[in-house]
């Protein structure tokens, strides 16, 4: 692997971040963390990660807003976004996808599925 893929985890709950961080690092990705929506935007701009694991419910800016901002900016258009949410309503899933999220997973999810989804979005089919 010549080029390590970079992943940003944007979630305000440390208890999920710890698992996601371990999981992603174990898959060989470079991982950085943001704990609210604004930090997420800043890190997407400064670190240009390949993929963002984006929680919907976050302080300062919601995942929807972050997603819309990223997808509205042509220079960031390549960033893949995988939205994670604790809300199970299909109207929200529709909104996330409409706003440009590349994939959408409802909590609780299987970590195996998550890894598979991430690899697929990054074009790393095993």
């Amino acid at each position: 692997m010549t080029d390590t893929k970079k992943i940003l985890i944007a979630d305000d709950e440390p208890n999920i971040v710890i698992s996601l961080e371990f999981l992603m690092k174990r898959e060989g990705f470079a991982v950085s963390i943001a704990v609210d929506g604004e930090e997420a935007i800043d890190k997407i701009r400064s670190e240009s990660p390949d993929l963002v694991l984006l929680d919907v419910m976050m302080p300062k800016k919601s995942g929807f807003e972050v997603c819309q901002e990223v997808k509205g900016d042509p220079s960031l258009a390549a960033t893949r976004i995988l939205m994670l949410t604790a809300k199970g309503r299909d109207t929200e899933m529709a909104k996330g996808l409409a706003l440009g999220a590349d994939a959408y997973m409802t909590k609780p999810f299987s970590t195996k599925d998550l890894v598979e989804q991430v690899r697929q979005l990054l074009g790393l089919t095993a």
Partner: protein, 722 residues
């Protein structure tokens, strides 16, 4: 000429005729004779002259007898029969003509008698039918009364002006719960015959619901009813079902116009609170636990990896322990107590998507003068919506687009997406920033004369929906997408199955709606048609400007010339000062009775509502009005209705009487005085006196409110002079 004179004249004429015939014949014969013949004949005739005269007289007598008989047969009898016939026709339908005269006349008499019999039969029949009809109307009334009073649902019937024509006891109780008056009017200031329903419900809301019903009627919908939920001033939630009252068709086969509406009300505040509580539990148990479960599951799955160092393993275990504990706590909490966050579940109604779009178009065009167009509408889609608030939200968004982005045209698109329906509001030109959209979503909706405390977000959440802004860069345009829940297409009941045609339910047959809109110019209105609030006050003394205060108010209502016994207003008032013992002797109110009663600033608003839209009547009104006016600053409420004074009116009607005290007037009019010197007792006496005055004023040419006020003013000045 009377028949008798005619007879005499006839006899006279015949006699003269006989004389003339005999005379002329004699003269002609005499003239033809030669002198010899004359001299020969004269001695023959002269001695027999008496015989000839007698013969002539006999001929006259016979003629007279014949004439008299003819007269009796052909004149006198028909004249008598005609007189009898006239009596039969006009006065005594039971009278019959006596058969008399010749056979032909008798045949006529028989025919007329038969006709009279037939007429009487018909009349009797009509009377029986009228009595039957009256009895059945009375029965229907009683049946409806019984039905209404036993209904557990409250029912209010209004005409198109929103005036209440009918309500049941349950509705009264419900309105009492809604009233924020201090128990005084007991909801009577909100509900009462002739009062406006708009005191309780938003005028726009009712108008919208009526529009929906009209629309359904035009489409011959099986059930032209509509549901909505509304909040009252006191913060209660009412679920309302509205059905139209249809009037008679103007002509055969024409559509029957809506002449009023029936509201069936349900106070769902408590139900909603319970439901909200259940929702809250569900919400916490599902969405709240999703995150925790995700954390536990992820951590547990991490523990399966063998390449885990001890420190991380400890941390994952801690995550699991913490989250499981948090979930247990949440479960306990859910099961025991909950915050009373009121998240109302609004009654959503099924509506054809195309109808919703058409209504939105109409509103945007009429309210905002904005051009609209349909881009694409899936006619088969049904949505589950609260159409009033949703249309408000759509119009609000359109108004902001029109005001701030000067869009010239708004297009609508409606498409299905599985269980959801997408309603898009599309415009050409630039899109706004996400912040702007957010502001629009979160600000209370104010536009074109409408003012709602709700925000677009509230409305969307009420529908369990979503909304967002999307751009169509290629076409250089943008749209708001409203995601709404879809509804399964309604099964249309066959219109025949519904009782809308001629077969109205039997228990409903009042002609309630002849009560037409009262004109708003009170001065030109007839005294006999106005609504009145007749009131009286008891006070601590006679000088309001020197600190005397009201201690009791009684008021009653007059509507359509009737005293409404059931709709009174009676309240003791804490005067917040001492009560002089000498005043207690007059009205019998003791200081102990006033302990714990509301103060005047709390009571007047309820009285103000009670008296809304009516003319005030009081005896010596100037005195009572003075007390009310001195409180205007404290309550901010003006009693600026027209006022009539029975004292002055009495002076107009009986200018020569010494006393115009209430007792004296009551005695003059024969009104029984009951409970004199309680505010309510006096108010009722005043009202009864006033009702008797209305026709007497009319005799004096005083028929309208304006005329009464003018006359009262003149009398007032006249009295001042003395």
């Amino acid at each position: 000429m009377s028949p008798k004179n005619r007879l005499l004249l006839g006899v006279g004429l015949v006699c003269v005729w006989l004389l003339v015939v005999v005379g002329v014949t004699g003269w002609v014969v005499w003239a033809d004779l030669s002198p010899d013949e004359r001299s020969a004949l004269l001695p023959i005739l002269s001695p027999r002259g008496a015989l000839i005269g007698a013969m002539l007289i006999m001929a006259m007598a016979v003629s007279a007898i014949v004439l008299r008989d003819l007269h009796r047969r052909y004149v006198a009898i028909p004249v008598r029969l005609a007189e009898d016939g006239r009596t039969l026709l006009k006065a005594e339908p039971t009278r019959r003509l006596k058969a008399d005269g010749n056979a032909e006349t008798q045949a006529f008499v028989d025919i007329i008698n038969t006709l009279a019999d037939q007429r009487q039969g018909l009349q009797d029949d009509v009377e029986v039918r009228v009595a039957d009809a009256r009895r059945s109307v009375e029965e229907e009334k009683n049946r409806l009364g019984a039905l209404m009073s036993e209904l557990t649902q409250s029912v209010v019937v209004c005409n198109l002006d929103g005036r209440i024509l009918l309500y049941n006891n349950r509705a009264r109780l419900q309105f009492r719960a809604l009233s924020d008056a201090p128990g005084a009017a007991g909801g009577g200031e909100l509900i009462g015959l002739g009062r406006s329903i708009y005191a309780v419900m938003d005028r726009h809301l009712i108008a919208h619901a009526l529009e929906n019903i009209q629309h359904r009627l035009r489409k011959s919908a099986a059930q032209p009813v509509t549901n909505f939920v509304t909040t009252t001033r006191a913060g209660q939630l009412l679920r309302v079902q509205m059905a139209p009252v249809l009037g008679a068709a103007p002509e055969e086969g024409a559509e029957r116009p809506v002449s009023g509406f029936i509201l069936m009300l349900d106070n769902i505040t408590r139900t909603i609170e319970n439901e909200a509580r259940r929702d809250e539990i569900l919400h916490t148990l599902t969405e709240g636990n999703r995150a925790s479960l995700a954390n536990v599951r992820a951590a547990a799955e991490m523990l399966d990896f063998s390449d885990l160092d001890d420190e991380l393993r400890q941390r994952f275990r801690k995550v699991i322990r913490d989250e499981v504990k948090a979930m247990s706590d949440r479960l306990d909490h859910s099961a025991s107590a909950f915050a009373d966050s009121l998240k109302a579940r609004w009654q959503l109604e099924d509506m054809l998507g195309a109808d919703l779009v058409a209504a939105a178009q109409r509103r945007a065009e009429s309210r905002l003068s904005l051009r609209t167009k349909i881009e694409e509408v899936d006619e088969s889609l049904w949505v589950k919506v609260d159409s009033f608030s949703l249309l408000q939200a759509i119009t609000y968004l359109a108004s902001r687009l029109s005001d701030e982005f000067e869009i010239r045209e708004l297009r609508f698109r409606l498409s299905g997406a599985g269980r959801l329906v997408h309603l898009d509001l599309i415009w050409s030109g630039q899109a706004m920033s996400t912040e702007t959209v957010m502001n629009w979503e979160l600000e209370p909706m104010r536009f074109a004369g409408e003012n709602s405390p709700l925000t677009v977000r509230d409305v969307i959440e009420r529908h369990d929906g979503e909304m967002w802004l999307e751009r169509e860069k290629v076409k250089h345009r943008a749209f708001f997408r409203l995601v709404l829940p879809s509804a399964t297409p309604q099964e249309e009941i066959q219109p025949e199955a519904y009782l809308r045609g001629e077969s109205r339910p039997e228990y409903y047959d009042f002609d309630l709606f002849s009560w037409s809109e009262r004109s708003h110019e009170h001065d030109d209105q007839l005294l006999s048609e106005l609504a009145y609030t007749v009131f009286d006050t008891e006070t601590t003394g006679l000088n309001p400007s020197q600190g005397d205060e009201i201690i009791q108010i009684g008021a009653t209502r007059i509507l359509n010339g009737k005293l409404l016994q059931g709709e009174g207003f009676e309240q003791l008032v804490d005067p917040q000062r001492s009560l002089p013992p000498e005043s207690s002797k007059i009205h019998g109110i003791t200081p102990e009775m006033l302990v714990g009663q509301p103060v005047i600033t709390k009571v007047l608003p309820a009285l103000h509502d009670f008296a809304a839209d009516t003319v005030l009547v009081a005896h010596n009104a100037a005195f009572d009005m003075r007390f009310l006016q001195l409180k205007e600053d404290a309550t901010g409420l003006k009693f600026d209705q027209p006022v009539l004074d029975t004292l002055l009116l009495s002076a107009i009607i009986h200018p020569n009487q010494d006393s115009h005290r209430l007792e004296a007037i009551a005695e003059r009019f024969g009104v029984t005085v009951i409970g004199r010197h309680t505010a309510m007792g006096d108010a009722i006496v005043t009202a009864e006196v006033f009702l008797k005055m209305i026709p007497l004023l009319a005799e004096k040419g005083i028929r309208t409110l304006g005329e009464a006020r003018e006359a009262a003013q003149k009398t007032y000045y006249a009295r001042l002079k003395y």
